[in-house]
């Protein structure tokens, strides 16, 4: 089996139809002004004109999923007693997600280290992750808020993907990344890809060149800890934040969640839902004490987790894919890049005895 095949643009719909015949197919679709991932409809072409408004994270880590069902039943031997039956609900079925960008699929590598680790195996996540294939579309040019190259990624990063589609003349060079991805390319609708290899390589290089030079984030983990108690700094960084949570819900690497029960009469479900570390209630304790009482404390934790705590736990890997959604979609203009740069500047300036060297 060839690892690279040519997908002519004219064959895209037919290939998607072929994928949909053997898998549940998820594609980016236009909904109003937004592009979101949803079930493939043969009558509607996917919108791959730009990166989707919402990342593909819900395809593996749904915004709301059932962990188990329970029901209350009368004890036949003692009708005054009620018994409870539990039933595990495990995801099944194979799916292909088409048209995510490299930052979106790279986000799953951040999850993998947490949800599929030696110490912890989240069966719901792992079942979906193993049964979901990603046909990712390499970017041709950088967007205004893109900073994937700051975090060790790039416009043609294939990490987390099974197939990478690189735009070439009249279509895409489809590069098989995983064994399962290479199997997807075994279709008569795709042609030999060798002669497009050079063009694809040039397209990747051109996309990388469209990004401005990357900031050096090596000092970030230590810097964020160094400014941990500097609440004047964090109050300033969070001044514009309105704690709406858009940054967390649209982030391909945010994975905080809640677990709640939802009753329907004598039965109910235990649900896992996305949660938002920017909300006051997130860490509010039963006693009324809240270790993160202000939005400054919460923003500090959010940025600290991505650029300091997570790297500290996972061999330096940054828990941010640089997609820029939190920047583009923030109604108040909070820019995580500026916060990290400012923290590094602040830590450096403080260590040198002055506090005026900040960029933001």
């Amino acid at each position: 089996m060839e690892s690279s095949r040519y997908l002519p643009e004219a064959s895209l719909d037919a290939w998607l139809g072929e994928l949909a015949s053997s898998h549940e197919l998820i594609v980016p679709r236009r909904e109003g002004d937004a592009i979101v991932f949803g079930p493939y409809d043969p009558a509607v072409s996917p919108d791959i004109s730009r990166d989707a408004t919402a990342p593909p994270k819900s395809t593996v880590f749904p915004a709301c999923e059932e962990l188990m069902r329970y029901s209350s039943v009368k004890d036949a031997d003692d009708p005054s007693r009620t018994l409870v039956r539990m039933e595990e609900v495990m995801p099944s079925g194979s799916r292909v997600v088409f048209g995510a960008r490299p930052c979106g699929t790279r986000g799953f590598t951040v999850y993998d280290r947490v949800f599929d680790a030696p110490a912890m195996h989240d069966p719901y996540y792992v079942a979906r992750r193993q049964n979901t294939l990603f046909v990712t579309l390499a970017c041709s040019e950088a967007g205004s808020a893109c900073f994937c190259h700051w975090v060790g990624s790039g416009p043609a990063d294939a990490s987390g993907s099974d197939v990478l589609l690189v735009p070439v003349k009249g279509g895409w060079l489809a590069e098989g990344v995983s064994d399962k991805g290479r199997e997807l390319l075994d279709s008569p609708l795709l042609a030999p890809g060798d002669k497009y290899a050079g063009e694809a390589k040039a397209a990747k290089a051109k996309a990388m060149e469209s990004l401005e030079s990357a900031a050096d984030l090596k000092p970030a983990p230590e810097s964020l800890l160094a400014v941990f108690d500097d609440m004047e700094f964090w109050n300033r960084m969070s001044a514009k934040c309105i704690s709406c949570g858009a940054c967390t819900y649209l982030c391909p690497t945010c994975y905080c969640f809640n677990i709640t029960d939802e009753n329907k009469g004598m039965e109910g479900s235990r649900l896992r839902t996305w949660d938002n570390c920017m909300s006051f209630q997130f860490t509010l304790e039963a006693s009324g004490h809240n270790p993160r009482p202000t939005k400054a404390h919460r923003l500090k934790n959010r940025v600290g987790h991505k650029f300091s705590y997570y790297p500290g736990l996972h061999g330096g890997a940054i828990a941010c894919c640089g997609c820029g959604r939190c920047i583009k979609s923030c109604p108040a203009g909070v820019d995580i890049r500026q916060i990290v740069l400012a923290a590094m500047d602040r830590a450096k300036a403080t260590s040198q005895g002055n506090t005026t060297g900040e960029r933001a």
């Binding site: 962990l67 188990m68 329970y70 209350s72 007693r81 009620t82 018994l83 409870v84 539990m86 595990e88 947490v114 949800f115 110490a119 912890m120 195996h121 989240d122 069966p123 719901y124 800890l225 941990f228 108690d229 994975y255 905080c256 969640f257 809640n258 677990i259 709640t260 029960d261 009753n263 109910g268 235990r270 896992r272 949660d275 570390c277 997130f282 860490t283 509010l284 304790e285 039963a286 006693s287 004490h289 270790p291 993160r292 404390h297 934790n301 600290g304 987790h305 300091s308 705590y309 997570y310 500290g312 736990l313």
Partner: protein, 278 residues
């Protein structure tokens, strides 16, 4: 961690008995319904579990019975919100879910041969009870054992059925205190840190274990420092809002540590290494 492959699935359990400890604290004694699971259940003093009231959800509580007494698992629940209120409505024979054991435990091995001072405030007595009973069941392994237990009023004092025994034991120095005078109260009156100063336990070869409201912990730490206790001689448990209990959901982290897996037990020396976010 539960032996179950799925860390989110609780074991079904039956409430054997409940004890109304105080107006807002109720103790539940439960057994796992699967006898093999119950027989195989192992935990260490200080470990916690998630207790489910089906339909209301789960909350985290310490297993406050000791591993030396496995007739049942005991959880004491202060009514504070939806889940705890629902749990308070349950009675003997009702079903609950148990996800346990979770988290780390008290360093009881390294405390062998040492004197121990327990300092508990309010519901903070629950985790201390586990270790206290464990040590009393292994009494020869430890030096002198003291207990300072305080509550706002006599009515707020949990484990009242056990207090007479604790007070009468020759191998346990028990001091009870309440914040303000109350009719019929025959023990100490005063805030825990002040009573601790009066008790003046010797720091040499001693470990202090404290649990209670954050404000009590703060001033108790001050008192212990004045008494000469080093940071690694002070052990406490942290209360955090926890949900998943397995280090994923993200709400109980302090920097890179997750209280649900790296805690809830920490020495004061360990706490000082963490970012200041208690």
């Amino acid at each position: 961690m539960s032996c179950s492959v799925n860390p989110y699935l609780p074991d079904m359990a039956t409430i054997l008995e409940t004890v109304q400890e105080t107006p807002n604290i109720k103790t539940f004694r439960v057994r796992l319904d699967n006898p093999d699971r119950m027989a195989a259940f192992r935990f260490q003093p200080g470990q916690v579990g998630q207790l489910t009231s089906f339909g209301a959800g789960e909350s985290t509580f310490v297993i406050n019975s000791p591993p030396t007494r496995m007739d049942y698992l005991q959880f004491s629940v202060m009514r504070a919100g939806e889940v705890t209120s629902s749990l308070h409505g349950l009675k003997a024979g009702d079903k609950v879910g148990v996800r346990a054991p979770l988290g780390n435990h008290f360093p009881y091995e390294s405390m062998k041969g040492k004197d121990v001072v327990f300092i508990g405030g309010g519901i903070g007595m629950a985790p201390l009870r586990t270790l206290l009973l464990f040590m009393l069941d292994n009494r020869k392994d430890y030096g002198s054992i003291s207990l300072l237990y305080g509550a706002r009023s006599p009515e707020d004092m949990a484990f009242r059925d056990e207090l007479p025994e604790w007070l009468s034991r020759k191998d346990l120095n028990t001091v009870l205190t309440i914040d303000r005078e109350a009719p019929g109260w025959e023990h100490r009156v005063g805030l825990i840190p002040n009573v601790l100063r009066e008790m003046a336990p010797k720091a040499e070869n001693c470990v202090a274990i404290t649990c209670g409201p954050p404000i009590m912990i703060k001033f108790t730490l001050q008192a212990l420092k004045e008494l000469g206790f080093a940071d690694d001689q002070i052990v406490t448990t942290l209360e955090k809002r926890m949900k998943c209990g397995v280090g994923l959901c993200g709400r109980c982290n302090i920097g890179g540590k997750y209280v649900c897996v790296d805690g809830p037990v920490f020495t004061y020396a360990q706490l000082k290494e963490l970012p200041n976010e208690l």
